[in-house]
Amino acid sequence: MTPANLKYTKSHEWVKQEPDGSVTVGITHHAQEMLGDVVFVEAPAVGRQVMQGEECAVVESVKAAADIYAPLSGEVLAANSKLADAPEKINADAYAAWIFKLKPSSPAEIGGLLDAAAYQAVADAEQH
């Protein structure tokens, strides 16, 4: 359930390293399961500079609003406009429904992200 080719944060974002050096960001399957049906996604503005750990998007479900944090510092390259009209795509496939793309300004930060096994341990701990 937790893809091995991605990196993760403790705050439940997934990070995919693209061949061009950019990264794609979304929320994990566990995160969408905790949130319930997603009804609104507010993505960051393209061109915005974000710091690692900074609030930069919001995912609202029928239950609650969740802040999405920048997993890395950098510039927002793109936001997934399809989620504005179809936020439920996050529930359907959290790893396909990306929220934004970043151009990292401090690539070394990637080394501090969690691998799939470490993230799975974080998610499992929350289930109990």
Binding site: E33, G36, D37, V39, F40, E42, V58, E60, V62, K63, A65, A84, E88, N91
Partner: protein, 363 residues
């Protein structure tokens, strides 16, 4: 940590894949996969809710009607036919809402109350404090449990499961009335804005009713859908839209308060002496986002506050109930502070949805 209380359906919720949550000390189902699908099932077909955490209280005594005329802000003198039900607030002497409840007229010496789970202890204390003066026996029916079965197909599904003697009476029920046979009690009431029944049966029978209804195609629904359904229906949630610090006149419940000279009741003087400064109205968010409880509503007449907010799946918009200055009226444009931004909203008169139909004009 104290253990959560459970209803007799706890194991079956888990078996059916429910995500369980702590709801005021009760371990209850939030949803069984998709809260949105459960919501739509009730609007379009039918769904069922475990509401066995709520309490049934039977009042017995020759003067039960007099007792309730003193205890309740609505007037049980309106209950002229056996089986009729009435929605009312029970107030303290300051006019604050101790609880909102449904009272059923079973017999002149027997009325039945259905009260909220979180208020049960204080309600019983209040009822028992005033019962002796009227010679009333207060009987908390912990042996019974309640199931809500709601939606356009709900009544047909329930009727098919009833004993022959109750079947005909249940089929003939007018809205806001009840029929019973032995320990089975069927009220045509609910908390969703749809047609349906609330079934009161022995706690030990809940599981068998739940399984039979499930087999008949009734969808299990959690507290999540219950909340969005009642919000669209413009119905108050105790503890959120009102409590002991608010009067029914401030929370959209003036229609349930009878202030005529024919009787005195707890809270009446307070209501007469302190006219409300604010009232409750509905909001529909024009901008993208989701309104939530406690957010500030900015109007040209002063600020108000959202008491319940969320996403209305039938309207596909964020909707809210809000307490605002008296001068604010349906049709007004206001703004709501949502997570640091001022978003535009339209003021409407609730309900937003009834019987599957949207009743407000979204501008």
């Amino acid at each position: 940590m104290t253990a959560l209380k459970t209803t007799p359906l706890n194991a079956i919720h888990r078996e059916m894949g429910a995500r369980m949550v702590d709801f005021g000390g009760w371990d209850m189902p939030l949803h069984y996969g998709s809260q949105l699908e459960e919501h739509h099932a009730v609007r379009r077909d039918c769904g069922m809710f475990d509401v066995a955490h709520m309490s049934v209280v039977d009042l017995h005594g020759a003067r039960t009607r007099d007792f309730l005329r003193t205890l309740l802000a609505n007037d049980v003198a309106k209950l002229k036919t056996i089986g009729r039900a009435l929605y009312s607030c029970m107030l303290n002497e300051a006019g604050g809402v101790i609880d909102d409840l449904i009272v059923y007229f079973v017999a002149e010496s027997h009325f039945r109350l259905v009260i909220n789970a979180g208020t049960t202890d204080k309600d019983l204390t209040w009822l028992r404090r005033h019962a002796p003066a009227f010679g009333i026996e207060v009987h908390h029916r912990t042996d019974l449990g309640i199931l809500g079965v709601q939606g356009p197909q709900a009544r047909a599904k329930v009727i098919a499961l009833l004993s022959p003697d109750l079947m005909q009476a249940a089929a003939a029920l007018a809205p806001f009335s009840a029929a019973w046979s032995g320990d089975h009690f069927v009220g045509r009431t609910g908390y969703t804005g749809e047609d349906g029944f609330e079934l009161i049966v022995l706690a030990g029978e809940l599981e068998s009713f739940w399984r039979k209804l499930f087999t008949a195609g009734v969808r299990p629904c959690g507290l999540g859908a219950r909340d969005t359904l009642r919000l669209e229906a413009g119905m108050n949630l105790y503890g959120q839209d009102m409590d002991e610090s608010t009067t029914p006149l401030e929370t959209g419940l003036a229609w349930t308060v009878v202030l005529d000279a024919s009787r005195d009741f707890f809270g009446k003087n307070a209501l007469l002496n302190a006219p409300p400064m604010r009232h409750a109205l509905g909001l529909i968010l024009s901008d993208k986002g989701v309104m939530r409880g406690h957010q500030v509503v900015m109007t040209v007449h002063g600020d108000g506050e959202i008491t319940s907010g969320g996403f209305g799946p039938t309207l596909e918009r964020s909707i809210a109930l809000a307490r605002v200055p008296l001068a604010v009226a349906p049709g007004d444009r206001v703004s709501v502070e949502v997570r640091g931004k001022n978003l535009r909203a339209q003021v409407v008169k609730p309900p937003f949805v009834r019987n599957g139909k949207i009743l407000v004009n979204i501008q």
